[in-house]
Each structure stands twice: as C-alpha cells, then as structure tokens.
C-alpha cells in the first residue's frame, strides 16, 4: 500500500539552511529507502503556490504567497510499504534525522 508522508510548516518561514551533516544523513536515508524498494517519489514544494477555488461554477485563481498559510505541505515522500505501521516506523526514522517539525501520514488510494 502507498502512503504519502508530508512535512508541514510555514512555507514563508526563512529558517537557517539545513547543515551539511543533516544533508548527508538525509541523503543516506533516501538512498536506503530506495534500496529497500520503498521510496517511489519525493520532493520539496515551492512555497509560492497558486490557490484555486470553485464556488458555484466560478473558478478563482489567486497567486501566492499566502500570509495565513502556517500549515502548508512543504515536502513529501510517496512510499510503498506493507502496512500503516511500517509507514509510521519509516516516518519516525525520517523525523529523527530532521529534528523538530511535524507532518502527516496518509494512505493513498487508487489510481
């Protein structure tokens, strides 16, 4: 089954760039997940998104950034595992490398 692991946060927050050590650790982790046949796709999201809304057939498109977006998805990993518990276990490993922060784990249905 597939799960989408998302990291959420304020996309406008200008945090310090991740240190070299973290990048190395993360690189290793990603490589390990690929080797384990688990990682299908991963990426970071551009903070300058576009908001789109359909209201009674009228579609409004608004360019970001959005001042109020404190909990936007800023990064994701799509993984293929055998159970929700495996997804949680792998997500724990990810967060141990990253440090403080938060995210969500959702099962992906389809296609």
């Amino acid at each position: 089954m597939r799960f989408l692991l998302m990291t959420t946060g304020d996309p406008q927050a200008t945090g310090t760039p991740p240190d070299e050590n973290l990048m190395i650790e993360m690189g290793k982790f990603i490589e390990e997940m690929t080797q384990a046949g688990v990682l299908l796709a991963t990426g970071g999201l551009d903070p300058n998104g576009v908001h789109i809304k359909n209201s009674g057939g009228e579609i409004t498109v608004t360019d970001g950034p959005f001042a109020e977006a404190k909990e936007a998805v800023v990064g994701f990993a799509l993984i293929d595992v055998r159970s929700k518990e495996e997804a949680i276990e792998l997500s724990k490993r990810f967060w141990k490398i990253v440090g403080d922060g938060e995210g969500e784990i959702r099962q992906v249905f389809g296609p």
Binding site: A36, L40, S83, E85
Partner: protein, 420 residues
C-alpha cells in the same frame, strides 16, 4: 500505546529489518537455520520487553544487538569461537572485548551484500522450487509460515516442513554463504529471478480458487526485485524482471471488473493503468538495455510489456514489434507457450489467418494439452474469421480447462455469443 499497538509496531520493525538481521547472522554463524532462530529469539525478547519499556529509539539496531549477543553466547557455549573467527577471516586477538568488536565490525560492513548472499542461498538450486519460494518469503520477506501457507493455499505444516527441510539441506550440503563466483553466477541469478517471478505470478493470476488476485505476493515479489536491482545493478536480467513486474503490476486496478471478473488486456480501461509504475518499468528497462549485453528472456518480456504500456489505445499497439520480440524470446527459451503468444501477436499484426496458422501447429503439443489459453486463442481467431461454430466449441473447451471460476464464466459467455 496499547499492547496491541506495540505488537503491530514490532511486527513492522521485524518486516523491515529481519532480512538484514538474518543475513548478518548467517555470515557470522554460517548456518541459515541457526541465524533465523537467533533472530527469532531476539524478536521474542522484543515482544516481552517493548510493551513495557516502549519501542527503543533504533529498534532495528536493538534487535541486531540482541541477536548478536545470543550468537556470541552460542558460539562460546559450543566452544567454537576460535574456528568461527578463523572463518570470519580475522586475525585472532586475545580478550573478549576484541572478539566482540571484531564480530561487530564483520557484521557492520556490507549488510547489503549479506542480503544479496541471503537471496542466493534461499534460491539455491539444490533446493526444490517450493522450498526456494517458501524460504525466500520467510527469510527475505519476513512472512510467517501461516501467511505463506494461506497465499499458496497449502496446509501450514506443509510450508513449515518445506522450510525446515530446506534449512537442513543447506546445512548438510554445506552450501557456502556467498555471492556466487563468475562461472556460476548467471545460472544462480536466474534461479533467484525464477523464484521472484513465480511468487509474483502466483499473486497476479491465482491458479485456483475464487480469489483472482493475491496482491501481497505481487507486492512482495516486486519489492524484492527492486531490492535486488539495487544490490546487483549491473545485471540486465534483474532490471528486465523488475520492468516486467512493474508494468504488469501497473494494470492491477484495470484487470478485474466490478464483480471480480477478469478483463483481458485489450479491453482494459487504460486510464486506470498506474502511470507511476509504468514509468518505473520503463526506467528499469532502460537500465537493462543500457548494460549493452544481449537481451535476455526477462528483458524481452519486459520490452513486450512496455509495448502494451506505451500504446494509449489498443489500436496503437505495435504488434509487429511484439511478434518480433516473441520470436527472439522463442529463440532463447523455446516453449509452446511463447509460440502461442507469438501467434496472438501475429494475428493482431497481420490478420487472424496468420495467427491461426501458427496456433494450429501447436494443437498437438503435449505441454499445451490442458492449457486453456490454446483453445481460447484459437476461438478468438476462428470468431474473427467468421467460423462461429468452431469458435464456440473452442471457447467451451477452454472454459472446461481453466481452473479460475471467473475466467470460466467469461469464456462461457463468449461461447454463447459466438453461437448467435
């Protein structure tokens, strides 16, 4: 966390880590059976302790350390520490700490290679095919005996026996825990690939019973294939098999109808094919073809699957290329089943008469005597040629031969349709 949450968490950790733990222990103990027992012992300790203490920070390392300590105890008890150390190829040093440190070091490097060795030994040709399958799912997939038994519709004691016997055979014949030397490598690798593809197919097209799909087996075979592709990246056939499995798996959602009836490839809704898996399949195929070696049977089958995946509509299918690929495949691995598939491709590329001509030549083949797809393919050609009476009896023959209940219904419907 409740106790059952913890148990599920332990189960997940076990599935993620058991292959590496068993592989590392096998290198240390030179015996797959002993290694698995030690790993299981560590799991039992975890099941006792973790519900109270909580899951440790690095559960995989915890399990490995616990198993290693038990391994060292066992070696000491058997007073075989010195000989085992020699086998590890390390110089002897005095003192217990040095010994443990050395074993640690031996275990820590090349975990990936150990997993590769574990695949080779689990699929060793000295074992029967059933044993290879059972042992692979058990040691590399972390499946329980019960799960394997349910997937293959055999009694649990049968699977348990296969595993016990396989481990005993490997031990008795002193099969080395190694990546096979160059001279044996191709044959040994093809034994591994055969096991993975067999597991995949068992899941993909259940040969018996009402259950058309057993997705867990497909997923496990695909996962192990992806792992193998990273461990043996220079082997084109590994990438070929991965391509084949990725592309076949991409059709999972499209290949059964609402009531579970099978939908043939050409009638599937291609919008439901999983494009992510298709792209992974194409990528694997490129890696295979990039190796520059002559195309092996799995690469050819992957390429055939890719032809279908590339076509946005059934009409766009490049059947002439598929027929050529089947010809190349027949050249490498002559088989009436491959010829039958070539007949289908020829029929699609150059008309039913050409296809039927080849299919007719296969009628006397002993290997196809009870194979439902031969009459089913002939029936399709006959129907397209307007020979509906013959088509009907061939559909009926095919329906009588298939072991899949839903497929039988589809064939009987076609028989009825060709009568009108």
């Amino acid at each position: 966390m409740t106790a059952s949450d913890t148990h599920r968490a332990i189960d997940a950790v076990w599935r993620l880590e058991s292959a590496r733990i068993i592989a590392g222990l096998t290198r240390m103990m030179r015996d797959v059976g002993v290694a698995e027992e030690l790993a299981q012992d560590a799991l039992v300790v975890a099941l006792e302790k973790w519900p109270e203490s909580g899951v440790p920070d690095n559960p995989g390392a915890w399990l490995m350390a616990t198993a290693k300590h038990r391994a060292i105890d066992l070696l000491r008890r058997n007073k075989r520490l010195e000989t085992k150390q020699e086998q590890l190829g390390r110089e002897l040093e005095t003192g217990q700490d040095a010994t443990e440190a050395e074993i640690d070091a031996a275990l820590d490097d090349d975990v990936g290679d150990d997993v590769l060795r574990l695949m080779f030994i689990s699929c060793h040709p000295v074992l029967s095919t059933e044993s290879r399958v059972a042992l692979t799912l058990r040691l590399l997939g972390g499946l329980t005996t019960d799960e394997i038994a349910r997937a293959f519709l055999v009694p649990e004691p049968t699977v348990a026996q296969r595993i016990v016997r396989a481990k005993r055979t490997l031990s008795k014949k002193q099969i080395p825990f190694e990546v096979p030397p160059e001279a044996e490598r191709a044959a040994r690798l093809s034994s591994v690939l055969e096991v993975l593809y067999l597991v995949f197919n068992e899941g993909y097209s259940a040969t018996a019973g009402d259950d058309w799909m057993r997705p867990a087996l497909c997923q496990e075979a695909l996962r192990l294939g992806r792992v193998l592709a990273e461990l043996a990246p220079k082997e084109p056939e590994v990438h070929g098999l991965v391509a084949l499995m990725e592309i076949q798996a991409s059709r999972s959602a499209a290949r059964t109808g609402p009531s579970g009836e099978p939908i043939p490839l050409l009638e599937q809704n291609r919008g439901r094919w999983d494009q992510l898996l298709i792209r992974r399949g194409f990528a694997a195929l490129l890696r295979a073809e990039g190796a520059g070696a002559p195309l092996g049977p799995y690469v050819l089958q992957g390429a055939i699957a890719a032809c279908h995946a590339q076509a946005r509509t059934p009409e766009e299918t490049d059947w002439a290329r598929i027929a050529t690929l089947y010809q190349a495949l027949a050249h490498l691995t002559p088989s009436p089943v491959v010829e039958l598939n070539r007949a289908v491709a020829l029929g699609m590329a150059f008309g039913p008469a050409q296809g039927l001509e080849l299919a007719d030549r296969l009628v006397g083949e002993p290997a196809l005597k009870n194979y439902h797809l031969l009459p089913s393919v002939r029936a399709d050609f006959l129907a397209r040629l307007g020979r509906s009476g013959e088509a009907r009896s061939e559909y009926e023959r095919a329906a009588a031969l298939t072991r899949n209940e839903r497929e039988r219904q589809v064939l009987l419907e076609r028989a009825a349709a060709s009568a009108s």
